[in-house]
């Protein structure tokens, strides 16, 4: 395991700098796309805000996470 990690570190350091930076850019763009997809999914996803009542729980509001975070009282 240790050897593999060392090999990985050596391979990272021995790469051409410009090529590596280009790879980082591509990976960042992919992760950014995943982030946008996650945000879009979270925008669609409605959370039930419930309060306890005598017969279990009652839904008082439905909103996505962003609305919930910025909602006032």
């Amino acid at each position: 395991m240790r050897g593999k990690l060392r090999d990985f570190a050596i391979s990272l350091l021995s790469q051409d700098m410009a090529k590596q930076a280009r790879q980082v850019e591509v990976i960042t763009l992919i992760v950014f796309a995943i982030l946008l997809a996650t945000a879009w999914w979270l925008w669609q996803f409605q959370i039930d805000i419930t309060v306890p009542v005598e017969e279990g729980r009652e839904v008082v509001a439905r909103m996505n996470i962003f609305e919930l975070l910025l909602s006032k009282q």
């Binding site: 763009l29 992760v31 975070l69 910025l70």
Partner: protein
């Protein structure tokens, strides 16, 4: 201010080739700001909704949401660090490359005027300051603006009343930042100047250690250094105190400001305007709201201090370089190598005092043209004029039939090889040094050049032959070896014009004569210009120009000039006498060395005879170290106590005699 912005924008243009990476880095920074904003809001929802309503589902969702944020936050934080480092380093390389290229392209006159230490500070410290500023200013400003907008929007959404109150403190912060920034800029200017002085001092002293030692000035120079370092320390102290005052005012302002806001926020909760979750979130945000302003302040201060460095580096970048690749000049494809000076005069632009006046001379291919005269007569300036390190103030210099001013510098210098008195050997192998400035590699030609310069046998005796490392960190070479290597380098280039500026000053007459004989064939088609004081070298010249009081006073062949019995005759007599005196001195020195060697040998012999035997050593050890009596020692060694006493005495006598010999040495 406009001037400052202009200089800054010039440096910011360096970021253009990395616009894609800069953009991604900014995107990452923006996302990090957003992620940072989420945590207090999650806490607010937990306190106001999840905990009071015992909503386990909401609690689980928020925790999972927090984990997802953490993962994205870590990734974009690492990406931002990676890209920032990449941009920072590449900017540093780019700027240093621009600076160094420009520096090498500047006319030689500029290098004579400027101190090396000052240039060193510019290429190291000043460029570091600029790169730090350029690489950081854009991300910090964008991040700060983004952070400020996000904080204000969220705070206004939670409680606009409290937010507007929070903004009252901003002008005070700007006033104190501006006050300190000006003083930091003044200090930075003084520090950079002082640092340049110290670098120059180091450089000057380290390259003249021999002189310092010979004048016994080690302590004096150390004291001078300490004085300079104390001056630097004083500036560092001023900087420290200013920084401490600045931090104190910063901290006081921020503490008073946030304390007042905390009180007012509490008042708003007590009076029922906002919830506990909201006050917790808004207090975290208001605690952060001073950060963008502090960052702006830091950028402002950094702009002020880096302006000094920008000006210093700009001074070099904006200087007019030599017309090295001037397209208006014409390229020399093939030349004969004939040089002609027509009434040439030269003086430096800032003075009317002529270094050379009315020089008319010529140097033909296949001939050795010698220049001689007293030191400071202007001989080396003639070489500088040929290489166009300086331009003539009047008159024209021709190469073949072309005016030298109209010839492309790059091609002109490609036709000239120079062996100067101060031979520079670069760190690297012998081969690399020989091939310096040559595009083609020809092993045979290189070896032949070394044979002609009488250095081949020496190189072959080195541990790795032509691959032996010399210069800094490699094998040290004597003055004569360096000169012969330099001659070999010039011969290997095999160009039309060969300039020998006191090129054989460190060689003995026999080696010098051998080298001239070896070169005869080579120089049959070359123009050789030689500056020399040595009578033996002057005899090799076809034509001699005597420079006196900045003019040519005599000219002709060696025999013609001697028969004139004029200035050259006197000069020659003086040089011959000097050479003879030097020879006598050398002989004296050799005799003295021989005598010393003889005395040393006698002493070595005596020392050998005084060497202690194992028995004597043992006796001395037992008697002096272990404090045993003669009887005990005799018993231990199987000898009589009387004999032990004799051995001890003889050993002691030997040791005393040895000591005396060492003292004599």
């Amino acid at each position: 201010m406009r001037e400052r912005l202009k200089i800054l924008s010039n440096y910011l243009k360096l970021l253009l080739p990395y616009w894609d990476k800069s953009l991604l880095s900014l995107l990452s920074v923006g996302l990090l700001v957003l992620f940072g904003m989420a945590t207090p809001l999650i806490t607010k929802v937990l306190i106001d909704y999840a905990y009071p309503n015992r909503d386990l589902y909401l609690l689980t969702f928020l925790v999972l949401f927090g984990i997802v944020l953490f993962i994205f936050n870590t990734f974009f934080s690492d990406v931002s660090s990676y890209l920032d480092t990449f941009i920072h380093q590449t900017l540093s390389i780019d700027l240093r490359k621009n600076f160094f290229t420009k520096l090498l392209r500047l006319p030689l006159g500029y290098h004579y005027e400027k101190q090396v230490g000052d240039l060193m500070v510019r290429v190291t410290d000043d460029i570091d300051v600029i790169v730090d500023m350029v690489a950081e200013i854009v991300p910090v400003v964008i991040k700060t603006i983004f952070q400020l907008i996000a904080l204000l929007v969220i705070c206004i959404l939670i409680d606009w009343n409290l937010t507007l109150l929070a903004l009252i403190g901003i002008p005070f912060y700007f006033i104190q930042t501006r006050f300190f920034a000006r003083r930091f800029e003044d200090l930075q200017e003084k520090s950079q100047t002082k640092e340049s002085e110290i670098y120059t001092f180091y450089q000057e002293k380290m390259s003249n250690v021999k002189t310092i030692k010979s004048f016994n000035q080690e302590i004096y120079e150390t004291d001078r250094l300490i004085d300079k370092l104390k001056g630097m320390f004083q500036l560092v102290r001023e900087n420290l105190f200013l920084g401490l005052f600045n931090s104190f005012f910063d901290a006081t302002l921020v503490t008073l400001w946030t304390s007042f806001l905390a009180w007012y926020a509490g008042y708003r909760v007590i009076t029922g305007h906002i919830t506990i979750g909201e006050i917790m979130a808004i207090l975290v945000y208001l605690g952060q709201i001073h950060q963008p302003f502090m960052d702006f302040g830091e950028v402002y201060k950094s702009l002020a201090t880096s302006h000094v460095s920008m000006q210093r580096v700009n001074e070099i970048l904006e200087k007019e370089p030599e017309a090295y690749q001037d397209t208006r000049t014409f390229v020399l494809f093939q030349i004969e190598g004939k040089l002609k000076f027509d009434k040439v005069g030269f003086h430096y632009p800032d003075t009317e005092e002529y270094i050379l006046k009315n020089i008319t001379m010529h140097a033909n291919p296949g001939e050795i043209t010698a220049l001689c005269g007293a030191s400071g007569a202007g001989k080396s300036t003639i070489i500088d004029l040929i290489l166009r390190f300086v331009e003539p103030s009047e008159g024209v210099i021709y190469i073949d039939k072309y005016d030298l001013k109209g010839v492309s510098l790059m091609t002109l210098r490609a036709y000239i090889s120079i062996v100067s008195q101060d031979v520079i050997i670069f760190s690297g192998s012998v081969r690399e040094n020989l091939q310096y400035g040559c595009k083609e590699v020809d092993e045979e030609k290189m070896i032949q050049a070394c044979r002609d310069a009488e250095i081949h046998d020496f190189v072959m005796d080195l541990p790795d032959g032509y691959d032996t490392q010399i210069g800094e960190g490699g094998i040290g070479l004597s003055g004569g070896q360096r000169q012969r290597l330099s001659i070999a380098r010039a011969l290997y280039r095999d160009v039309k014009i060969l300039v020998l500026d006191e090129a054989t000053s460190a060689l003995d007459s026999i080696t010098e004569s051998k080298i001239y004989n070896n070169m005869k064939k080579r120089i049959a088609t070359k123009t050789v210009i030689m500056i020399t004081h040595r009578p033996s070298s002057l005899k090799n010249a076809d034509r001699i120009y005597v420079i006196s009081e900045n003019q040519i006073s005599e000219q002709g062949t060696f025999d013609e000039l001697l028969s004139k019995k004029g200035e050259f005759y006197e000069f020659y007599q003086a040089q011959v006498q000097e050479s003879e005196e030097k020879m006598e001195e050398k002989m004296e020195l050799l005799k003295f060395k021989k005598k010393l060697m003889k005395e040393k040998k006698v002493k070595e012999k005596a020392k050998k005879a005084l060497k202690l035997s194992a028995l004597e050593k043992k006796v001395l050890h037992l008697y002096y170290d272990e404090r045993k009596t003669y009887a005990k020692i005799g018993k231990e060694l199987g000898m009589e106590p009387y004999d032990i006493n004799l051995i001890r005495k003889s050993a002691k006598d030997k040791l005393e005699r040895l000591k005396e010999l060492e003292v004599e040495e």
